[in-house]
């Protein structure tokens, strides 16, 4: 090798090292929308939630891996027996990113602001009980009690969502206690989070966290572009990825994709049971028949839905709680097996008859109904087409209709002008209290027959009672027993015919060390303060 070539190589190496050193370790991934707010107490959208998770310091944190509650800014906490009071013992000597000291004053200020009705905080709504009055009592600079006028179920876990804001700092949004802080925001382009120099946590070897110097969040609504950029190495992770993209990435680089198993999300179908709905009376009678609903449920091949529609990255759903929810899932229940013959027998026993391949009711009406779902969601459309084929085997004709989302919501929630629908729930809350607005017969999201003045059926009355019971009980065992029974009723009555639970799929570049994707949000960066990047990947950018 000539001296000239050697010098050229040396120069390249120096430049590479120089650029890597100048850039620092920067994790990059995408937000799918612009964050609506940087105020952690007003967060109501996914993008803002991401910022809050990465920048906000909380008193207690739900460990995304174990689903257990762990101390953060609070060293310890004590919940009163009546679930009306929680007392936190705070860590001492902590500082916000702007240098302001952290004390019980900040917790009191945060709680006061959170519960201010003028703020319209959805995080605050979860704490509202009784007359919504909340008091704070500072017992010492590092000790504070938060007192509610009525019991709040799952009170301690709710504080996982409350990022403490500074009472003293001039720039409230800029002073944070989390591992990162917002350094730059270019609307429509990106958000740069930089390492919080005052972050309090250290790893087991005593090294200051976080390891990363910064996180760049590119605002990118197009998933195709997101995946292409990930493939090109411009992004380090995709937090939640569709089945198709997952399989394509898996075929080219299997080491980057992660299937964490069934998520909390569920897809389901239901029939319109609203008494005043503008549908023929004979159809309403079918839809209000438990036996009819159960027969339809048994005639749906959930294994095929999972295997064909989601390429195996989904599990047949059991009920309102995914098996991923370790504590609240009723393990005595199982997914409805595919039994078209017994489904048909059940319908025949109910007075239906099969005539020239068409199922007819007692009055001779052909069993035909439409299933609506939102246009553009290809997985729901495909599920509807598979269900259409499955039900044709028992003589039921299904028409699949896709509507734009606003029209769909208008039909199913306002005019009740539909017959059956397929939609899904994205659950972020492990606690069943988050499902009160679904199971109470008076609730708006009681989709099959919402806003009932009084429960129209005995089983709905029982569900109302059980849901209220679990919401007021403070003993976790009693709550679990009540909610287990709710799950049993749902399985028996099939107001929602649960179809599948999607798996939590994500992609993480091999250059990221320490990532361990989980099912709870945020799946890939829940331990962002402990993630590191290979220096080689930094240099190549």
């Amino acid at each position: 090798m000539s001296r000239r070539i050697f010098l050229r190589h040396l120069l390249c190496l120096v430049l590479l090292i120089g650029s890597a050193a100048g850039q620092g370790s920067e994790l990059r991934f995408c937000l799918r929308a612009e964050p609506k707010t940087f105020d952690p107490l007003k967060v109501d959208d996914d993008a803002s939630l991401t910022i809050r998770y990465l920048t906000g310091g909380v008193l207690v944190r739900v460990n995304r891996q174990t689903q257990g509650l762990e101390p953060e800014l609070a060293e310890s906490w004590k919940l009163s027996k009546d679930a009306r009071q929680i007392t936190f013992k705070l860590r001492r000597g902590l500082r916000f990113s702007d240098g302001a000291p952290f004390s019980a004053d900040d917790v009191a200020y945060t709680v006061k602001r959170l519960m201010d009705p003028e703020l319209h905080s959805s995080t605050g709504d979860a704490f509202r009980s009784g007359n919504s009055k909340v008091e704070t009592k500072i017992l010492a600079p590092d000790q504070i009690a938060v007192i509610f006028s009525a019991p709040v179920v799952g009170l301690d876990r709710l504080f996982d969502q409350v990022a403490i804001v500074s009472s003293h700092s001039a720039n409230k949004d800029g002073a944070v206690l989390g591992p990162f802080m917002v350094a730059e925001y270019k609307p429509g382009a990106n958000i740069l989070l930089k390492r919080n120099p005052n972050y309090w946590k250290k790893d087991s070897q005593g090294r200051a966290l976080p390891f990363l110097d910064s996180i760049r969040l590119d605002i990118q609504p197009n998933r195709d572009v997101e995946v292409l950029r990930f493939r090109r190495g411009e992004l380090d992770l995709i937090n939640s990825i569709d089945t198709e993209y997952y399989d394509r990435l898996a075929s080219s680089s299997p080491a980057v994709v992660h299937d964490a198993g069934p998520s909390l999300d569920s897809e389901f179908m239901w029939f319109n049971q609203v008494a005043t709905a503008p549908i023929p009376a004979y159809k309403r009678d079918w839809f209000r028949s438990t036996s009819f609903r159960n027969a339809i449920s048994a005639a749906i091949n959930r294994d095929d839905l999972s295997r064909v529609v989601f390429n195996g990255h989904a599990q047949p759903a059991v009920g309102p709680v995914s098996p991923a929810n370790k504590f609240w899932f009723n393990s005595h229940l199982h997914a409805e097996p595919y039994k078209p013959d017994s489904a048909l027998q059940r319908l025949l026993a109910d007075g239906f008859r099969l005539q020239d391949g068409t199922l007819r009711d007692k009055a001779g009406n052909a069993v035909e109904f439409s299933i609506v779902t939102n246009a553009g969601n290809k997985y729901r459309e495909r599920m509807a087409v598979l269900i259409q084929e499955d039900l044709s085997k028992i003589g039921v004709k299904v028409n699949v209709v896709t509507l734009d989302f606003p029209s769909l919501i208008e039909r199913i929630a306002q005019k009740f002008n539909y017959e059956a629908a397929i939609l899904g729930f994205q659950n972020v809350d492990l606690d069943p209290n988050g499902q009160m607005n679904i199971w109470l017969s008076s609730a708006e999201n009681h989709a099959w027959n919402p806003q009932q003045k009084s429960p129209e059926t005995a089983w709905e009355a029982e569900m109302d009672r059980l849901m209220r019971e679990q919401a007021s009980a403070t003993d976790p065992k009693k709550r679990k027993a009540a909610f287990d029974r709710v799950q049993e009723i749902v399985a028996e009555q099939a107001p929602f015919i649960y179809l599948i639970n999607k798996n939590a799929l994500s992609a993480v570049s091999t250059s990221v060390e320490g990532a361990s994707p989980v099912i709870l949000h945020p799946q890939t960066y829940w331990n962002a303060d402990r993630l590191t990047l290979h220096s080689a990947s930094q240099a190549s950018r």
């Binding site: 998933r223 195709d224 995946v227 292409l228 493939r231 569709d242 198709e244 993209y245 394509r248 095929d304 295997r307 064909v308 529609v309 390429n311 035909e368 109904f369 439409s370 609506v372 246009a375 553009g376 969601n377 290809k378 459309e381 495909r382 509807a384 087409v385 598979l386 259409q388 084929e389 028409n399 699949v400 209709v401 896709t402 509507l403 734009d404 029209s407 039909r411 002008n417 539909y418 017959e419």
Partner: protein, 270 residues
């Protein structure tokens, strides 16, 4: 007839014949689900492989082509007739009628047609069979797609109205609707034909647009729009090139139409 036009005619004819014989060329049908072989590559059983839920892609392309090629002309006929009625009559009558029709047409053209289609479709009854849904989709396209043609026809009718032969007919005592039917309408024929042919590819693409949004023809019936949706999420042409066949077919058909129309326009101009 030049070579390009002949070639375009042959291509269109071939596509029409093959799509009309879909039942013979693809006996498995467009709706049958081979659930054990979803997203499979081309094989002897499935010449273009299967789609995401195991349906034979070749059969779906043929049936989808048949639907688009049969119903787009029907929608074009409806829209051209409406355009002739509104634009032709307004141009012939002139005065306040022309101003009213022009204002109404301009208003219609200023509406965001895609949202209008989505809204109209959302208002329709849900419990209709896929075949009825496809008829409804093209009927809506036909009923909403007349405005641009109406303006062209109004301008042509206005020119004819003051032409020598119409003046001569008037002088001989021909009046009113008879004058329109016997002397004006026959002379609007070349423009009507041109508008009809121009509308066909427009409606094919409109249905494809609706289909891509998932708002076109109801499942399990295929259409070019729903077939093109399969390309969503495709990262590389090299991965599964056979999935590009519907897109290539659409391009070939549209190019053939364009070739025919360009020559037609040149002939009319000459």
């Amino acid at each position: 007839m030049n070579l390009a036009r002949t070639l375009a005619c042959v291509v269109l004819l071939l596509v029409c014949v093959v799509s009309l014989g879909a039942g013979w060329f693809a006996p498995s049908g467009y709706a049958r689900q081979f659930r054990e072989a979803p997203s499979s590559p081309p094989s002897r059983q499935h010449w273009l492989g299967t789609d995401d839920i195991g349906r034979d892609r070749f059969a779906r392309v043929l049936y989808g082509t048949r639907i688009s090629l049969l119903l787009a002309p029907a929608a074009a006929l409806i829209s051209t007739l409406l355009a002739a009625l509104v634009g032709g009559l307004a141009g012939y009558l002139g005065g306040i009628w022309l101003r009213l029709a022009t204002g109404f047409t301009d208003l219609f053209l200023s509406l965001p047609w895609l949202f209008l289609l989505i809204t109209v479709r959302a208002l329709l009854p849900l419990n209709v069979s896929p075949l009825v849904s496809v008829l409804i989709t093209f009927l809506i396209l036909g009923l909403l797609g007349w405005a641009a043609s109406a303006r062209v026809l109004a301008a042509s009718a206005q020119t004819l109205r003051s032409s020598d032969f119409v003046l001569q007919a008037r002088a001989t005592g021909v009046r009113g609707f008879r004058l329109f039917l016997v002397h004006v309408l026959p002379n609007l024929k070349p423009v009507l034909y041109a508008q009809f042919w121009i509308s066909i590819p427009v409606f094919i693409l409109s249905e494809a647009n609706l289909g891509i949004l998932g708002l076109g023809v109801a499942e399990p019936l295929p259409s070019w729009g729903s077939l093109l949706r399969e390309l969503e999420g495709m990262m590389s042409f090299r991965d599964e090139p056979w999935r590009l066949v519907p897109l290539l077919l659409l391009i070939v058909v549209m190019t053939s139409f364009q070739t025919l129309l360009t020559d037609e326009t040149e002939e009319v101009a000459a």
